[in-house]
Amino acid sequence: MHRTKVRVVEDALDANNTIAAANRSDFDRSGVTVVNLMSAPGAGKTMLLERALEGLAEDGLRVGVLEGDVQGSFDADRLSLLHLPVVQLNTGNGFGGECHLDANMVRSALPAVPLDDIDLLLVENVGNLVCPAEFRIGEDAKIMVCSVTEGEDKPLKYPLMFRSCELVIINKVDLLEYLDFDVDRLEANILQVNPQATVMRVSAKTGDGVDAFRAWLQALPARAGATA
């Protein structure tokens, strides 16, 4: 026996990225634009979708949702009231599971997603500010929700996540009057780690600011088509 050094020089996430590229070509074939929506648990992703997607359906943009959760179908049940195709993707069985979606998990759910009948697929990732930032799923855009109940310093603690997203939605602004929270400082911290980010202030509960998010979603397929 003797020891040999093997030069590898390979991104350890290449295997995931290869599957993400396969997802991407499936999306392209059906002309579907894909958004990877991420946040900490409880930031309001599902309620934001409930609000924003309601209007999109009326405007003729065909939307589907892939709902990633550690467990259960609570979010999918809520969104199914919008009469959109909603597919539940659980990352575990029974008592918890993976803390994020990866390309392979999304791939396993694709047969259930009616890609040819939708223009826009929103993938609601598992609530977590760390792992989802690492794993591409074949999306056109990564976006995130952070809420004013989380702390102004979060962008500085989770720069990987905040840097990976082109749109950061600050949610629950209706609560600002009850909180000792400096929303300007949060926005400054977001822009410190990601100067290119678009930042929107929204209340999914009151609907305040949701129109801007809806308009952003509506503009996305044209942009994705232009770069394809």
Binding site: M1, K5, V8, A12, L156, L160, L191, Q192, V193, Q196
Partner: protein, 121 residues
């Protein structure tokens, strides 16, 4: 917390290149912006590598500093805190020069003595 999934990704990459040979040493190159806790990654690699050809392999991690570059003034500087703004030109033209790497750099494997002779030519 992401170290567990990252350890699985490392193991898969290493095993692919080891092609069944016993692995004695793994060298990773990890950028500081990846926010990887090295001790935790090493701990998980020990767990996921158990009962594979990587069991017992030693781990070496090369730290890559977080270096930014301003595309406007061409300045390059290392950061210790996440601030992606050029001191001269402000935000908007800053790109990451190094610090986002998550690479398997090399592995050391045990070869049969006569492997060179039986290899196809």
């Amino acid at each position: 917390m992401h170290e567990f999934d990252l350890s699985n990704a490392v193991l898969a990459t290493v095993r692919k290149h080891a092609a069944g040979r016993r692995v004695t040493h793994v060298t990773l190159r990890i950028g500081r912006l990846r926010q990887v806790v090295k001790e935790t990654l090493a701990f998980y690699l020990g767990i996921v590598g158990k009962d594979t050809e990587c069991e017992g392999a030693t781990l070496e991690i090369i730290d890559v500093p977080a270096v930014l570059r301003c595309t406007r003034c061409k300045n390059e500087w290392e950061i210790e805190i996440p601030a992606f703004i050029c001191g001269t030109c402000g935000p908007g033209a800053v790109e990451v020069a190094t610090g986002e790497e998550f690479m398997v750099e090399s592995i050391e494997v045990e070869d049969e003595e006569n492997a060179a002779c039986t290899a196809p030519r």
